[in-house]
Amino acid sequence: MAALTPISRKPLSFVLPILAAAGALVGLFFGTANGSGLIGIVAGAVLVAGLGYAYVEVLKNEKTALWISLAVMVVLGIYLAGIPGIVLGLFFGWFFWWFTHWLFEGRYRARLLPYLTPGQVLWHYSFRVICGLIFFFLVSPLVPVIWLSFNAQDFFTFTPEMLRFDPAGYSLKHYQDFFTNGEWQRSFKNSLIIAPIATVISVSLGTLAAIGLSQSHVPFRRAIMAILISPMIVPLIISATGMFFFYSKIGNFMEGTMGLDKNLVGYFKVVLAHAVLGIPFVIITVTATLVGFDRSLTRAAANMGANPVTTFFKVQMPLILPGVISGGLFAFITSFDEVVVVLFVGSAGQKTLPWQMFTGLREQISPTILAVATILVVISIALLTTVELLRRRSERLRGMSPA
């Protein structure tokens, strides 16, 4: 992108305090990790401001400054943290070199509109930093989980070998355990059976309910809506207890009187229970998309001789599809993540992944749970990426630009 605003160098009285503050912030973390936060703050501030002064006043050569910066920070990193310090040193060396020149040369203004006041410029960057921090807050808990899943030991502990990036401290044995252990495989298979069927049921019933409730002639619409979404509001443990007794009776009848297989009945109970939990999500998302649906389209279709079923599949369904799909995703995740209801309603034959993780966490803190969590994260990311790519593709085919 071309520069919008002509830039000029900034005075040192502006650059150095900011560099010192940034150095102090980073120094605080390293100082605390190595014993004294205060020393870290002072040392960080002095080091970063001093280096910055040296680059712009003494050296006056950006390329050389980069090499010096990297060398200084890597040596410091090795001194403070050994081999992993190299990675951190390279990062911070590059960052402070870039940050110094970005400030000093006034590059931070280049891509902003020329008439912005200093306050607006400050807010522009503060806003990005805040967004970054929120992102960090949301994602950072996953990092140790993924990292620890490669632990060579059977504990949730960062061993010295792991911190030194010693290959001996890492292992894929927890992944191997997941793929070879019968209990994990059985529960994974059960999750893959139960969640999709429950999703299909929730999506069909939830979409029908939402369409029905959007008709103006239905009596007691609000009351019916409230009852239908109640599984989302009632505490899960309460619905689970109720479902346990309800489905026990049904299960006894199906096994005893109808003579059905015990396992089949077990799946039937869990799938229905999960479908009930998924329906509110579908109703809410589909109702939201129906608000923007133009009723005259169905009348136009009827005018041209289409019966209501054809109208639904050819006209209404394609238009509310985004709501149906996102509702279905929620229903799938609800079933795939659910542990309370399945603990009550299911028997050991219907043990799902969350159940296995729950008991595993209680009885034996094994990193296999972390390996499974990592695999699930990867699957979720792949699933959401696929949906997003398909959405963009269909928008492209329809001649819209992706929003």
Binding site: Q153, D154, F155, F156, T157, E183, F244, F245, S248, K249, G251, N252, L260, D261, K262, N263, L264, S347, A348, G349, K351, T359, G360, R362, E363, Q364, I365, S366
Partner: protein, 378 residues
């Protein structure tokens, strides 16, 4: 013509496929039904303990009888779940592994079947009847003990200096052994240890603990280390805390400590002093259909015979409940080390022990629990 012939053969193929599918669909439930008839659900604790049962009992039993065994690691909430299942008339468990205290409760409530040891259990190889072979360990008429385990302390060998603790009172000695300790979040065992280290003689512990003053005395002793205690709920917590170096010592089941020390190779050692013995074993839930009950009895008879109990000790360091099994205890299946010195019942380890007092805790548990929880919240 040719086209027609082709059509015909395709038709034939379709028909065959359809017929096969139909046959399969009719046969499937029948197959599933016969399959189901030979499937049982065994409830246990999970982790290394379930694994030892799988290797010592379940795999040989499946091989012998063709029964498929499904595991449910729900022993921790066995009492509550069995009550609910019984109320709903839908007992899905066939055999349940519980501690003795839970077995006594389940037996009192009529949720477990009464067992006649001499009739239902295998005699020792030399013909000694089961009731004598198990001896005092048959603490309830519904209960078939399997193992003796103990709750004891492990400590970090690299955090205790040159004088490793040998005495239970090291737990209360913050000067000699500074650092956090992990204790179970319930009064049982902790109250006894506290009184023992407050100068009460071992024989008087339960008499003192029966009085409100004695309970206050125990809590006062625990108060001296309260802000250095991490409370645990699951048996896996203390091993994790010890491996992390977050605690200098902590109580847990001896088999968990064995796994930390020998299998995971952590710098941890056992403090056997004042270990508390408890039992773990089987009950058969009431309300099973006759054929399931017969199979459950058959399984339990097999799984608690002399050889099977001795086999389990190959995989985990818990002592077999039968006297006749003790001489058969051999080496660890993978590590090849002698298991006998790691048993809580080994004479070297059992110099100073407690046996969980079922009667006392049955009578006083609710009161002392309430007091303990109130003290915790202070």
């Amino acid at each position: 013509m040719r086209v027609n012939e082709n059509m015909e053969s395709t038709n034939m193929k379709m028909k065959t496929i359809l017929l096969t599918t139909a046959a399969a669909m009719i046969a499937a439930p029948a197959f599933a039904a016969s399959h189901m008839a030979n499937e049982m659900t065994i409830v246990s604790w999970g982790g290394a303990y379930s694994k030892s049962q799988l290797l010592a009992y379940d795999e040989p039993y499946s091989e012998m009888t063709g029964t498929t065994i499904i595991h449910d690691d729900s022993s921790a909430e066995a009492v509550a779940k069995l009550r609910a299942m019984n109320e709903a008339g839908n007992v899905t468990w066939d055999v349940v592994d519980v501690v003795a205290a839970d077995a006594i409760r389940l037996c009192d409530e009529g949720l477990a079947l009464v067992i006649d040891p001499d009739k239902d259990l295998a005699p020792a190889p030399d013909g000694t009847p089961a009731s004598e072979d198990f001896g005092d360990l048959l603490v309830s008429e519904c209960y078939i003990p399997q193992i003796v385990y103990s709750t004891t302390f492990g400590y970090r060998t690299d955090m205790v200096g040159d004088t490793p603790p040998t005495d239970i009172c090291a737990v209360f000695d913050l000067e000699a052994y500074p650092g956090k300790r992990s204790l179970e979040k319930r009064p049982i065992n902790n109250m006894e240890w506290a009184l023992l280290c407050d100068g009460v003689a071992k024989g008087d512990v339960y008499d003192v603990l029966a009085t409100p003053e004695g309970q206050d005395k125990a809590l006062a002793k625990l108060d001296t280390i309260k802000d250095q205690v991490i409370w645990w709920n699951a048996g896996a917590d203390t091993p994790q805390l010890l491996a992390d170096g977050e605690v200098v010592m902590g109580s847990t089941y001896n088999g968990r400590l064995f796994s930390v020390i020998e299998e995971q190779d952590q710098p941890v050692a056992m403090l056997w002093d004042a270990q508390v013995f408890d039992l773990d074993g089987w009950i058969i839930p009431a309300g099973l259909s006759p054929e399931r009950e017969a199979r459950a009895r058959d399984y339990v008879r097999f799984a608690t015979d002399t050889q099977r109990l001795a086999d389990q000790a190959k995989y985990i360091s818990y002592g077999p409940a039968r006297m006749s099994s003790a001489p058969l205890v051999g080496k660890h299946a993978e590590l090849g080390i002698d298991m006998a010195p790691h048993m809580p019942t080994d004479p070297n380890n059992a110099k100073n022990t407690f046996l969980y007092n079922y009667e006392f805790w049955a009578d006083y548990r609710d009161d002392i629990d309430a007091k303990f929880q109130a003290w915790l919240a202070q």
